[in-house]
């Protein structure tokens, strides 16, 4: 017996829309089984993981704070992925954006001006974009694989940040703790709503999502992105340059990741520490695919993945499981999304007839 994937003649529109929801449902079911095997009451555990964080105003704010970087990064990544450029290093661009944006409040901490904050945001974008320019240059001109280079640069960024906060940028009045000065008021991204901590980073994420959605849906640039992503040769025929697209998509996603980084540092942490991200840059890859590389879908997906972060913390507190359970849920979710997508395009066929086993010898 063997298992065959047979291409479906027609792809169901209904199920391609339902797919992320089915994947989410399956994640909950299997998460429940996992909790049961750990000896916890699955209903209680799932409640504390997925529902409790939504039940109070302050935790809704936390959700928005966690969702903001995920959405912002994933929107940039969706442009990369659609144009067939695989930027896996958003985590590094996030960190470099945070570092570049922090130059003003850490090094020039004396300068107080309303200009500080907008400059920080711009420098954050620039930092992320410049860091993404390294794999872009290597791919466009040296023909290297951007998956490897962008991923490896993540570790460079992490170690650079670690060195900065333990070395030259360490807070002189900070009792030798590895962290920078806390930012002055002018350098802190203000809260959006009076009821809680949600800062303007969330607004940046929503604005970016809408702008990119508009670009992909209506403009020639969006058309260029999807043509080059599907066929480089057809893009060349259209007069589009795939080399310029490497630059465009990598710089754009780098800038968005950098903006996410400086927003997170300025809005939520308010200083630099050795670790400033619980893996936002990597989780954003899941967000991008769960949102079907559609910027509006990414907003929803970003909120879901943000919930897994909060749920992990909540579950650790209330039922005493490791917060690593967050990673398990993120992995389950990605697995089920990809499986659902596969089954929408293919049907599984069990073949019991061993005589018909095909042999393609000599066929090409």
């Amino acid at each position: 017996m063997r298992i065959e994937l047979e291409k479906r003649a027609k792809v169901s529109t209904l199920f391609s829309i339902l797919s992320p929801f089915i994947a989410f449902l399956l994640t909950i079911i299997f998460g429940g089984i996992m909790f049961a095997l750990l000896g916890k009451n699955p209903v209680m555990a799932l409640y504390s993981f997925f529902v409790e964080p939504l039940s109070e105003v302050w935790s809704l704010h936390e959700l928005a704070i966690k969702a903001a970087p995920l959405i912002l990064i994933a929107v940039g990544l969706s442009v990369c992925f659609r144009s067939n450029n695989w930027n896996i290093g958003a985590e590094g661009q996030f960190i470099m954006g945070a570092i570049a944006g922090s130059i003003l409040p850490v090094v020039l901490y004396d300068w107080q001006s309303p200009l500080v904050l907008p400059l920080m945001m711009l420098m954050g974008m620039l930092g992320g974009a410049l860091f993404a320019a390294i794999p872009a240059f290597l791919k466009a001109h040296m023909n290297t694989n951007e998956i490897l280079t962008s991923l490896m640069l993540v570790y460079v960024a992490q170690l650079f940040l670690d060195w900065l906060v333990r070395g030259p940028w360490r807070n002189p009045g900070g009792m030798n703790f590895p962290e920078t000065r806390t930012f002055a008021v002018d350098a802190i991204l203000p809260e959006m709503i009076a009821s809680g901590r949600t800062h303007w980073g969330f607004a940046f994420a929503i604005i970016a999502a809408v702008l990119v959605w508009f670009m992909m849906r209506y403009t020639l640039k969006g058309f260029e992105i999807s043509v080059l992503g599907q066929s480089e040769r057809a893009g060349r025929f259209a007069g589009f340059s795939s080399r310029r697209m490497i630059w465009f998509s990598m710089l754009l996603s780098g800038a968005f990741a950098g903006l996410a980084g400086i927003s997170e540092v300025s809005g939520a942490i308010q200083q630099l520490r050795p670790v400033i991200s619980p893996g936002y840059g990597f989780t954003a890859i899941i967000v991008a695919f769960l949102g079907r590389l559609n910027p509006l879908g990414i907003v929803a997906a970003g909120l879901v993945l943000a919930l897994t972060y909060l749920g992990g913390e909540a579950a650790q507190l209330s039922i005493g499981v490791s917060e690593k359970v967050t990673r398990v849920f993120q992995g389950l979710l990605l697995f089920f999304v990809l499986s659902c997508d596969t089954l929408i395009h293919y049907r599984i066929k069990l073949v019991f007839d061993r005589l018909t086993a095909t042999n393609s010898e000599g066929s090409r």
């Binding site: 291409k7 003649a9 007069g239 393609s360 010898e361 000599g362």
Partner: protein, 524 residues
């Protein structure tokens, strides 16, 4: 080496009700076919008619969904190619499976039992190849051989199994006319020995010339079984496409105008190890003229198209001139803005993106040249859907593009209909220069005739048309001038009336003025 006769009722191979489903799509639908001993049997059909699927089932590459295969009157189940060979069925595929780094003998030995010595294989192969008029040097490396010689290896490989039935899939598509003639000699020899040949082709002329019987497939069904010699090309074509094929009329072409497209000593190094370099190519296309460039595939046609279209600009600005202005270093859109249009060979993934709807594929070729009509919103460059949709509709109507729905994905159209759209997309702009690479490659006869007529009409209206084609019938239908490309070199142009097929064949083989074929060039 004659073979013994077939017992009992005579059919060597009979197929009844053979069906192959891919999902719900029937590639072959209830096929009935009989092959007698000692006949050359043609299997005719357009691309996608089900020819390849049928022979893959006969050779055990695909398993039939339903139906029966009778071999010498016995019902058989052919599980894999080894089983097919054991029965006595040999096959020569369109795309060869040879290791370029190995010698001829080593390649042949790979498909034989492991316990036969290489020397013995070489000896046997050499004997067989000479007996059948397919001279081969067993010690030659495959990489050094021409396509025709490589095909001989495949044929000898099949013959070594002493088959009763040999299946040949589009064998002449890669051969020069002279090489094809040699192949036909071999086929006659096989036939004289009592072997049968199943000959797959869409070249009507060949089928009429060498085949005793023909089975015609269309949309996975048998639409005719006949003696091809008793038919006319148009009656065969009718069986293949299901309707009369309009003849292209090239008469009354207007007088030559100014030079609109020119290449001056165009020399381009090969971009990849497998590409062909262009060597000092000179050509001129006048307004009102169709210059056709003949040649066997892989002799620099794609590279010439890339250089003329500007998909890969060349270093020397004056090497390519459009409307007497140098454009060698300019890109494809700059050339489009000067009034040129381009139709590449490959439809999917080059001329069109299969997953995108037709309207998007219109924007693909014309986003720059028709920016005024198709784009709005200033620097935002918002695509104006209404303008694009109505232009798509206009083109579809003008070229009779048959499609399911208003704006289906390009990939859902048949090859012929998509090609009509791709050509129509350029004609709609009334380009003063049109460069077309393989305008009707793999396209059904009805669409092909429509496209050729459109090219002729465009030239008549005063445009310069350059057609790169491997199809001599097509070239003679549309061309006013003909040049031949071989190994990246272009011959002088000849007026179409003055050039015989024989002469073109010689030029294709790289023979400028000599009379012998391509043999000997690679002998060791």
């Amino acid at each position: 080496m004659p073979v013994e006769g077939v017992a009992a009722n005579g059919h060597l191979l009979a197929v009844s009700n053979l069906t192959k489903l891919f999902g719900s799509f029937a590639a072959c639908n209830g096929i009935n076919l009989q092959i007698e001993q000692g006949e050359i049997h043609a299997l005719l059909g357009e691309n996608g008619a089900g020819k390849s699927t049928l022979v893959k089932m006969l050779f055990g590459v695909l398993a039939p969904t339903a139906g029966e295969i009778l071999w010498q009157g016995q019902s058989v189940r052919i599980a894999n190619p080894a089983a097919a060979r054991k029965l006595g069925i040999g096959m020569v595929f369109q795309h060869f499976s040879l290791f370029e780094a190995l010698t001829v003998a080593e390649n042949i030995a790979l498909s034989m039992d492991a316990n036969i010595s290489l020397a013995k294989v070489a000896e046997e192969a050499s004997r067989l190849s000479h007996a059948y008029g397919l001279p081969l040097d067993p010690k030659a490396h495959v990489a050094d051989l021409s396509v025709g010689e490589r095909q001989r290896i495949e044929i000898v490989r099949a013959l070594l199994q002493n088959p009763r039935l040999i299946i040949l899939d589009e064998p002449t598509s890669v051969l020069t006319p002279q090489e094809a003639d040699r192949l036909f000699e071999t086929l006659y020899k096989l036939k004289a020995e009592g072997r049968s040949v199943l000959y797959i082709s869409h070249r009507l002329e060949e089928v009429q010339r060498i085949c005793d019987r023909a089975t015609v497939l269309r949309h996975g069904k048998v639409t005719g079984a006949c003696d091809p010699k008793a038919e006319t090309p148009s009656s065969l074509a009718r069986m293949m496409v299901g309707s009369d094929v309009a003849a292209v009329t090239a008469e009354g072409t207007s007088a030559k105008g100014e030079v609109q497209l020119e290449a001056r000593h165009l020399t381009v190094p090969a971009r990849t190890p497998f590409a062909v370099s262009l060597k000092n190519i000179c050509l001129k296309v006048h307004a009102g003229e169709v210059l056709a460039i003949a040649g066997v595939a892989g002799n620099g046609q794609g590279e010439l198209f890339d250089a003329l279209s500007g998909e890969y600009p060349v270093g020397d600005d004056s090497a390519v001139q459009i409307r007497q202005r140098p454009v060698g270093t300019r890109n494809i859109n700059a050339r489009r803005l000067m009034g040129a249009g381009f139709v590449p060979e490959e439809r999917h993934g080059h001329a069109a993106v299969s997953a995108l709807p037709l309207s998007d594929n219109l924007v693909l070729a014309r986003s720059r040249s028709d920016a005024k009509a198709f784009l709005g919103g200033g620097f935002l460059k918002i695509i104006r859907r209404d303008a694009v949709t109505s232009a798509t509709k206009r083109i579809s109507e003008a070229m009779d593009v048959r499609k399911s729905g208003e704006d289906p994905p390009a990939g859902s159209l048949s090859g012929g209909n998509l090609q009509k759209f791709i050509v129509g997309r350029e004609l709609d702009r009334q380009p003063s220069v049109l460069v077309v690479n393989q305008p009707t490659w793999g396209v059904d006869a009805g669409a092909a005739s429509r496209i050729r007529q459109a090219l002729v009409d465009l030239a008549k209206a005063g445009s310069a048309v350059l057609v790169i084609s491997q199809d001599l019938d097509e070239i003679f239908e549309v061309a006013t001038e003909i040049a031949v490309i071989s190994d990246g070199r272009l011959s002088d142009p000849y007026p179409a009336q003055e050039l015989s097929r024989e002469k073109i064949g010689l030029l294709m083989g790289g023979m400028y003025g000599k009379t012998e074929g391509t043999e000997g060039a690679h002998a060791h």
